[in-house]
């Protein structure tokens, strides 16, 4: 009853092309954002540290991959490596210019990923489909090798690992050992909201149309005057920007440090799974996918022991991990069979039904 289109007339083109045409949707979005900020003050540290911050980070990476694979149709298996480029770039910038506010460096490090992404995207003019996927594997393995073999990237430190130095914003520590989950969460939340807004603007405008045109039928798109190489490179660049920032956030505002192995091929696949399950070509799907794939093992880790303990059985953390792989793998197959457009489509269908509820149509 509450959710209705009735009475909401659009009187100009600007209103007609709004991203959230229904007032109820806009109110809903506002409430979610308010609730997200409120969570910083009422949520407990475990929730923020182990669930919310990584959920946001992976959502951002998924948005990045979605732009490339979902909107533009270029399958990429190099996401992990592009995230890594952002993280290492951020590290070098932060340590070289410690006076500059670290948030600036986080946001700028994405540009390094963007450049590398565009470079590895050059072959996409000639190479398509799964051949391109294999080409992105070259990026993944080569960049991963660079992370290990170029000690300059970690400022020649002995451990070979990245670590988060102490950094502050307006006097409060936001990075490093003294930063609380609450402050880190607020920083990550704000960055993710900002970047999601920018991504949404892009995909709903002329550039999003170009990307989708290339995905749907690149020959026809070329006929419209859309230049395929520029459009694909832009997709690689923007996508890698998002992945790079996500990588920097992952290392410095979540883990607090990382070894090169964090950005391995499993990472690439898991982000891809988030995009597939969440919905290819849907920004909100990126959030759904990240939620499902990331939160799943946490839920498993709580629910499973709870179910088994009455029987005196227990499960180790490694078993949970194995089950996670199995469930994710099975979910991918399930979604591809049942709803290839992922959770986002299910969400859309749900909203359509809600629009006319309690009537069937």
């Amino acid at each position: 009853m509450l959710y209705r289109e009735a009475g909401q007339f659009k009187t100009n083109y600007i209103a007609d092309s709004a991203i959230f045409p229904l007032r109820q949707d806009r109110i809903g979005l506002g409430l979610i954002i308010v609730a997200a900020y409120a969570l910083a003050f009422i949520g407990n540290s475990f929730l923020l540290q182990a669930v919310m911050i990584p959920f946001l980070v992976f959502s951002l990476a998924s948005i990045g991959l979605n732009i490339l694979t979902g909107y533009t149709g270029l399958l990429s298996l190099g996401t992990g490596a592009f995230m890594g480029v952002g993280a290492y770039a951020c590290y070098k910038l932060m340590t070289a210019f410690p006076e500059v506010n670290v948030i600036v460096w986080i946001l700028l490090s994405g540009f390094f990923s963007a450049a590398i992404g565009a470079l590895f995207g050059l072959p996409s003019l000639r190479i398509k489909g799964f051949y391109l996927a294999v080409a992105t594997l070259a990026a993944q393995f080569f960049l991963q090798w660079c992370f290990i073999r170029i000690p300059w990237l970690v400022n020649y430190n002995v451990s070979g690992a990245l670590d988060a130095p102490l950094r502050t914003l307006f006097g409060t520590p936001i990075m490093g050992p003294n930063a609380t989950p609450q402050t880190r969460y607020l920083v990550v939340l704000t960055i993710v909201i900002l970047l999601t807004w920018l991504a949404s603007n892009l995909v709903h405008g002329r550039i999003g149309r170009m990307w989708i045109a290339i995905r749907d039928m690149d020959l026809a798109a070329e006929l419209m005057g859309i230049r395929p190489l520029q459009t694909k490179l832009l997709a690689f660049a923007v996508s890698s920007y998002y992945c790079g920032v996500a990588g920097a956030l992952l290392v410095f505002l979540w883990y607090g440090g990382a070894e090169y192995d964090v950005f391995n091929i499993n990472q690439s696949f898991f982000i891809l799974f988030m995009v597939i399950i969440g919905g290819l070509g849907s920004l909100i799907g990126s959030f759904f996918g990240a939620a499902l794939i990331f939160i799943l093992p946490i839920v498993l880790g709580i629910v499973l022991p709870a179910m088994l303990s009455p029987f005196g059985l227990s499960v180790g953390a490694d078993v949970i991990e194995h089950l996670r792989f199995m469930i994710v793998g099975a979910l991918i197959i399930f979604f591809l069979i049942v709803e290839p457009h992922g959770l986002a489509r299910l969400w859309q269908i749900g909203k359509q039904k809600l629009l006319v509820w309690p009537f069937p149509y």
């Binding site: 100009n12 083109y13 600007i14 092309s17 920018l198 603007n201 892009l202 709903h204 405008g205 002329r206 550039i207 149309r209 170009m210 989708i212 045109a213 995905r215 749907d216 039928m217 020959l219 026809a220 798109a221 070329e222 006929l223 419209m224 005057g225 859309i226 230049r227 395929p228 832009l234 070509g281």
Partner: protein, 266 residues
């Protein structure tokens, strides 16, 4: 003396000239030594039995294939190796036999996609959506809505085109081509698979586009009635060669054309 960059072509001047064009794929010759021209603001039909090379000819004109011999001159400029997006920017638009729409997009978005070459707003403003980007979007939206009104497809504006019946899809595709404001419009069997009513509508649109905007049209068509009614001049191809060229009346009574269609042994 160099020709001016954008010369003005008067009705009747040659807009596109095809000179001794041959096209081969491996051992197969799709076109052999074909020559004809298309004059500004005319409706030129390209007809012929199946496999005559008509679609290949259009593909050469708009840059998908490069002729193996001969050359194509558009607006007075020779175009040896023109890529499709250059053809588009030069003023050539095209529809396809098997509708080449962006299936996941709505009618409106498909036609807006046709405005791509006219859109200038850069990446920076696109990031913010409201502002110069939105102004441009609205301006183009106005133009696209005129096309939608013209083609009488208001009711399917927001429908994803994959869900539309074939006849409507072809109309949307025409709309997308018109959005490019082309000088030369290539239509590949625009009436295929349509019933009588739909054909009449489509013929009306084609005529109006030609008469109202002066758009030059080259069309491939099988329906002889349509060809006779619509076109100013006709080119007939058979097995990749030109066998007739002239007004519909002349071509209709050409013995070689009759033989080709009736399949008389050579």
């Amino acid at each position: 003396m160099r020709a001016p960059d954008n010369p003005v072509f008067a009705k009747g001047d040659v807009l596109l000239a095809v000179d001794n064009v041959s096209l081969g794929f491996g051992g197969v010759k799709a076109l052999t030594d074909v020559s004809f021209d298309i004059r500004k603001s005319e409706i030129r039909a390209i007809i012929g039995p199946n496999g005559a090379g008509k679609t290949s000819m259009l593909n050469c004109i708009n840059g998908f294939y490069y002729p193996t011999e001969g050359r194509i001159t558009f607006k007075g400029v020779k175009r040896p190796k023109m890529r499709p997006h250059e053809a588009a920017r030069g003023g050539i638009a095209r529809t396809f036999q098997n509708v080449a729409l962006f299936k996941s997009m709505s009618t409106l978005d498909n036609i807006m996609a046709g405005r791509s070459i006219k859109m200038r707003s850069n990446f920076f403003w696109q990031l913010f959506r409201h502002g110069p980007a939105m102004k441009e979007e609205v301006a183009h939206r106005r133009f696209v809505e005129e096309i939608i009104d013209f083609l009488e497809i208001q009711h399917i504006r927001k429908t994803p085109v994959g869900k539309l019946p074939y006849g409507l899809q072809k109309r949307v595709e025409l709309g997308r081509a018109l959005a490019m404001e082309p000088e030369l419009l290539l239509l590949d069997e625009p009436m295929a698979g349509m019933n009588l009513e739909e054909k009449e509508d489509m013929s009306r649109f084609i005529l109006e586009v030609n008469q109202q905007y002066g758009t030059t049209i080259a069309l491939i068509e099988h329906d002889m009635g349509v060809v006779m009614d619509l076109s100013d001049r006709v080119v007939v191809l058979e097995y990749g060669r030109k066998i007739a060229d002239g007004t519909p009346q002349v071509v209709k009574s050409d013995q070689r054309v009759i033989d080709a269609y009736l399949g008389v042994a050579h």
